[in-house]
Structure formats: C-alpha cells, structure tokens
C-alpha cells in the first residue's frame, strides 16, 4: 500500500479524514444545525455535500496538474514561493489553534461526562503524552491504528442509531417546505465548516500513492460522511426537537443516554465516551502531524520528530489559555472557527485553483 516512508495511500488518507471529522461532527453539527436550521436543520448535509464535492474536485485537479508535488509545493508553484509560504504559514497557524481548541474540548467533555473529579490540565497532559508517542511512531502506524479504530467507531455508531431509531419522532423533523430552504442553508454553514477539514489531510503527507484514485475515494468518503451526518442530525433533532438540541452541550451523548433496550441494556455512554477518546487521539495526531509537516515544508527540514515535544508543550499551554470554561470553545467554534474554516479550507483553495487556471497551469 505504501511505497515511500512519508507517503500514504489515498484510501488511508480518506479513512483518516473520516475518523477526524466524525467526532467533530458528533459534537458540533447537531447543535449548529438545530440552532440555525430549526426543524429543517437535519437537512444541512444535503447542501454541504455540494461544497465538499467541489473542494474534492479542485484538489484532484491540482494534484493531477502538478504530478509528484506535495500540496504545499503546489501552492508555491501557483502563487510563487513567498506568497505560497505565507499561505501555508497561515494554514499551519490555524491548524495549531484548532488543535489546541480540540484538546481543550476533549478535556472539558471528559470532565463533564465520565471523569468529573479530574482536573482539565491533567487530562490534557495525559492525552498529549499519548499523542507524542503516536507521532514518534510515524504516520503509517497512525494509519494502521485508524484502520482498527474506524470500523469499531462506525459499528458502534450504527448500533446506537439502530437503538435510538424507535425514539425518533417525525413531528420534530417535519414539515419541510420551500420556506425551510433559507434555514437549511444557514444550518449547512456549520456542516460545511466542519467538513472543510478535508484539506488538512493533504498536509499530513508529502504525497500519496495511487493518486489516480483520489477523486473516486474522495467521492465515496464524502457520500458516506453525508449519510452518517444526516443520521446524526436525525438521531438528535428527531429525538429531542431542535429547541432542546441547540441548548445541549453534547446532544449525541444525551441521545445515547436515552437508549434502553427492554429495560436491560442501559447506560451505554461510558462505551461511547471511550470510543471518543480513541477518535480524539487520532484527531490530535492528524492535526499535529499536519502542523509539523507544514513546518517541514516551510523551513525545508529533513525530519520533524525533534519538533514534536516543543509543539505539544505549546499546545498544552495554549489549550489552557484558549478558554476559561467549557462554553468558550463552543463560542469559538460557532463564531470564529466555522467561518474561518470555510474561508481558509474551501474559498482559498478555490481561489488558488482559479489563479492556476488563469495562469494555464491547471
């Protein structure tokens, strides 16, 4: 599957994308969709899929036009070295900020759900040490871990969906009319903003093996992601109604708490929380790797292992500084991160593509 030390297959990259997006989708999309789309919020993936497919096609065209180059090199080829490095630097900085926010999210959620007596800084330190060990092992090992964790996660999600299905009330999801187009569009902003992390995957590797399959693999994963996000929205908005979901801190976890099979199988949330820890571990590893790889590209480094410890120490303190309480990461996500993600990870590549087109390079 892999021919070079720093190269991974497109399929593995797309599976990593799914694993990194899934916990974020569980955490943020139902709340954003319910708040902005009301009872039509569950339709947000139907609109967002258009933008993600466009992004996937743009990235595919760029890789085909500049064969053998990494994504950072492609950007430098289109814009020139200086501007390209500035753009990559902005992406790197934003990925570092987002990583710190996710780490804080993880700690706050764990404290509020399963480890109520634990201090946030201790949890952050533990997960970052684990991430450091994973990063020292290299991207290939992380990909292999993902191939084990992802099927378990998907299986658990489908099982939960099956168990929650009887609690879904169509009354909370309907009626849908043409008047719901605008609310659904508003709701799709959040979904698009989360899915936009698709681009981050292209920073984790110097290149991909079997790049010819990039378009087909991307389309498959995007459709799969759309289906599970749609299910996620239905499982939350359909069970609690949008007015409740928009006020909940973690609607998916609350929905899991509602599960009761014949009054015997109950309280399955610790299992879901344990899976979240695994997913978060991969999320942090992927974002750290993306940031370190951008540093490698910017400064022409031959290795990134010596930057793992300083980067994670920075992330530790920045994740403590980024928010004072558990509500602030959510405000940061809704008010700043989602619009910035759309600008940096969807609009900017589209502009780069247009510039490349004008220059007749793409």
């Amino acid at each position: 599957m892999t021919t070079d030390k720093n190269k991974i297959s497109v399929r593995r990259a797309m599976l990593l994308y799914l694993t990194t997006t899934f916990p974020l989708a569980q955490r943020l999309i139902p709340i954003y969709s319910a708040r902005n789309g009301k009872q039509a919020g569950w339709l947000s993936p139907v609109i967002s899929i258009v933008f993600l497919l466009l992004l996937a096609l743009i990235v595919d065209r760029l890789y085909k036009a500049f064969d053998g180059l990494s994504f950072m090199d492609i950007v430098c080829e289109i814009t020139g070295k200086a501007v390209g490095k500035i753009i990559c630097g902005i992406w790197g900085l934003w990925i570092l900020i987002e990583l710190s926010k996710f780490v804080r999210y993880f700690a706050e959620r764990t404290v509020s759900t399963i480890m109520t007596d634990t201090k946030v800084d201790i949890l952050i330190a533990i997960i970052l040490v684990t991430v450091a060990i994973g990063l020292y092992s290299g991207i290939i090992v992380l990909c292999r871990m993902n191939e084990i964790i992802l099927p378990i996660t998907i299986l658990a999600f489908l099982t939960v969906a099956l168990m929650i299905a009887p609690n879904v009330k169509t009354l909370y999801l309907t009626p849908i009319s043409r008047l719901d187009i605008i609310p659904a569009l508003k709701a799709s902003v959040g979904t698009t903003g989360i899915w936009a992390y698709y681009l981050v995957i292209f920073f984790i590797s110097d290149g991909f093996t079997n790049k010819n399959h990039l378009k087909s693999e991307s389309i498959k994963i995007i459709f799969f992601l759309a289906v599970i996000t749609l299910m996620l929205n239905i499982m939350t908005i359909g069970v609690f109604d949008h007015s409740v979901v928009e006020r909940l801190h973690s609607p998916y976890m609350v929905a899991i708490k509602e599960i009761s099979v014949f009054n015997t199988f109950q309280k399955s949330e610790p299992f879901a929380a344990a899976l979240w820890v695994l997913e978060d571990f991969l999320l942090f590893s992927v974002f750290s790797y993306a940031f370190l790889n951008i540093l490698r590209s910017l400064f022409g480094l031959s290795d990134i292992n010596f930057l793992i410890a300083p980067t994670l120490i920075f992330v530790y303190f920045f994740s403590l500084f980024i928010a004072e309480n558990r509500f602030e990461p959510e405000s940061f996500s809704n008010l700043i991160a989602i619009p910035t993600n759309i600008i940096l990870f969807i609009v900017l590549p589209a502009i780069l593509f247009l510039v490349g087109k004008i220059q007749r390079k793409v």
Partner: protein, 66 residues
C-alpha cells in the same frame, strides 16, 4: 514555572545529544525557536492562569458579542 524550565532544558539536552552530528543550522534554529515559543507560552500562561482567555480576547477584538 521551574518544572517547565526543567522540561525545556531536558528536551533540549536529549534532542541535542541525539542529533548534534546530523543537524543542519536551519534545523537547529527551528528547534530552538519552537522551544522558545513553547517556553514563552508556558511562562505567559503560568504567570496568570486567570487572565482573559484567547477566545475572549479574539471575540472582543472582532467586536463579536458572545
């Protein structure tokens, strides 16, 4: 703060010992710059952990009500 300083010195010592011979000047500069950034962030946070958060500062700069 002392623990942070010990950690930074420890990491520097380990990495320098491991890579001194095959490190380019560029890589050494990036390593020490990143260590300095991590140390500065640590000192900034530890000097007053109850200061306004990054989110609060950013939202007030952008005039976005929470």
């Amino acid at each position: 703060m002392i623990l942070l300083a010990v950690l930074i010195i420890g990491i520097s010592f380990i990495e320098i010992k491991k890579r001194l011979r095959n490190w380019s000047k560029n890589e050494m500069a990036v390593f020490f710059a990143s260590l300095l950034a991590a140390f500065a962030m640590g000192v900034y946070y530890l000097s007053n952990p109850h200061r306004s958060s990054f989110t609060k500062i950013l939202l007030s700069i952008l005039h976005i009500p929470q």
